[in-house]
Symmetry: C2
Subunit: 203 residues, 2 copies
C-alpha cells in the first residue's frame, strides 16, 4: 500500500503519433502495453513544456489581488489569480513579475515559490508554478490582453466567501488560495522581511 | 474593483467552427469581438459536458484513501483521489459510488458534496464535483482500468508530507485535500452521523 512510484514499471509505448492539430493544440495517440500485458490506446495533449506561473500578490498582510478575465472555455468572466505562460528563456520569477506587470500593473521585489501544480496529468504534461509576491510597486507593462483585466482586491479573512463565489472555481486558483493561506498563517513575519531575498519553499 | 461578473458584457461570438478532432478531443475556434471593439481568435476544447466526480473516501476519522494510477499526459504514475466521468443519466453521488467501487473496491453509505471545480476555464468547460465519502463497505465493481490501481491509505495528520510527494501535484487533488481537511476539522461529528443522510455543503 505504500509502494513508491519508482518501483512501478511504466507501460511500454508501442507507437505514438499526432492524430489532430490546431493552432494551439496537438493531440497525440499512444499505443501502450501495460506490465500485465494489457494493451490500450490513449490520447494526450502535447504542450509547449514551457510551464506557466500563477501569482498570489499580497499588497499588505490583509489582502490578495485577483483578476476577473474572459475565459473562452466557459464563455464567461472568471475570478482567479494572475497567470500566464513562461516565455522562452525566462525563469519562473522573471515570468511571474512580467505577468504581474501586464495583468495588474504591479511589479514585486520579493517572491516565495509555494508549489508546482499539474493540470489533469492523465491528458496533459503542463506545470504551473505558484508564486507569492511581496513588496509590490506600481509598474504597468503592455500584455496581449484584448481588454484590461478587472483587478479585485480581496480581504484574506474573507477566503471562505471567496470559495463561495460562483466565478471562483478554477482548481489551480482554489489550490493557490488555500496553500497561500497556510503559508501566510505559518509565516506572519514574511511581511517584515526586506526585499531582495527571494525564497524557495517548494516542497 | 468589486464589479460583479453579471455586469460584464461578454464578447460577441462572430463565428465558431471545429478546427481539429480526434477520438477524445474536439478543438473549436472562436472569432470574438470584445465590448471595446477588439477582435481576437480563440481556441477551446469542446467536452462531453457530462461532468466528473472526485471522491475523498474516509475509512475512519484519521485516514483518507488515494490511488496511484498511470497518467498518459506525464507518462508516469501519479497519486491522487479516485475520480471519473459521470455516465449519461447518472447523478453525481451515483457516479461517485460507482467510481469508488471500480477504483478502490469500496462503496459508501454517506456523502458530502464539497465544491465543484473547473479545469482551466480559459480552454475547457469541464466541471469536477468533489465529494467526501463516509461509512465505507467492501464492494468491488469492474471498471475499464487496464490494471488494478494501487490503493494508498494516508494519515490525515500527514497532509503536509502528502503535499511534498513528488507525484501528488494535480491541482484538483491538492484543492480536494485542503478543502476536505477544512471540512473535517470544522465538522468532527461527521463520523458519528448515521447513514442515509447525504448532505450538500457546496458553496
Amino acid at each position: 500500500m505504500t509502494q513508491r512510484t519508482d518501483d512501478k514499471q511504466k507501460p511500454e509505448i508501442l507507437s505514438q503519433q499526432i492524430v489532430a492539430q490546431s493552432r494551439l493544440f496537438k493531440v497525440e495517440q499512444l499505443e501502450l502495453r501495460f506490465s500485465n500485458g494489457e494493451e490500450r490506446i490513449y490520447e494526450r495533449m502535447r504542450g509547449s513544456n514551457r510551464g506557466a506561473v500563477m501569482i498570489i500578490a499580497c499588497p499588505d498582510p490583509e489582502h490578495l489581488y485577483l483578476v476577473r478575465e474572459y475565459c473562452a472555455g466557459t464563455h464567461d468572466y472568471q475570478l482567479g489569480f494572475p497567470k500566464g505562460l513562461i516565455d522562452p528563456g525566462e525563469d519562473i520569477l522573471t515570468a511571474a513579475n512580467r505577468e504581474l506587470k501586464e495583468e495588474i500593473g504591479f511589479g514585486a521585489r520579493r517572491f516565495v515559490q509555494l508549489k508546482s501544480l499539474a493540470l489533469a496529468p492523465g491528458y496533459f504534461n503542463a506545470t504551473m508554478h505558484l508564486v507569492l509576491a511581496f513588496d509590490l510597486y506600481a509598474e504597468q507593462q503592455a500584455g496581449d490582453e484584448p481588454e484590461p483585466l478587472e483587478l479585485v482586491r480581496w480581504a484574506r479573512q474573507e477566503s471562505a466567501a471567496l470559495l463561495q463565489q460562483a466565478d471562483f472555481t478554477e482548481a489551480r486558483s482554489v489550490a493557490a488560495l488555500l496553500l497561500a493561506q497556510h503559508y501566510l498563517e505559518a509565516n506572519p513575519d514574511v511581511f517584515k522581511q526586506t526585499a531582495g531575498a527571494s525564497e524557495d519553499h517548494r516542497p
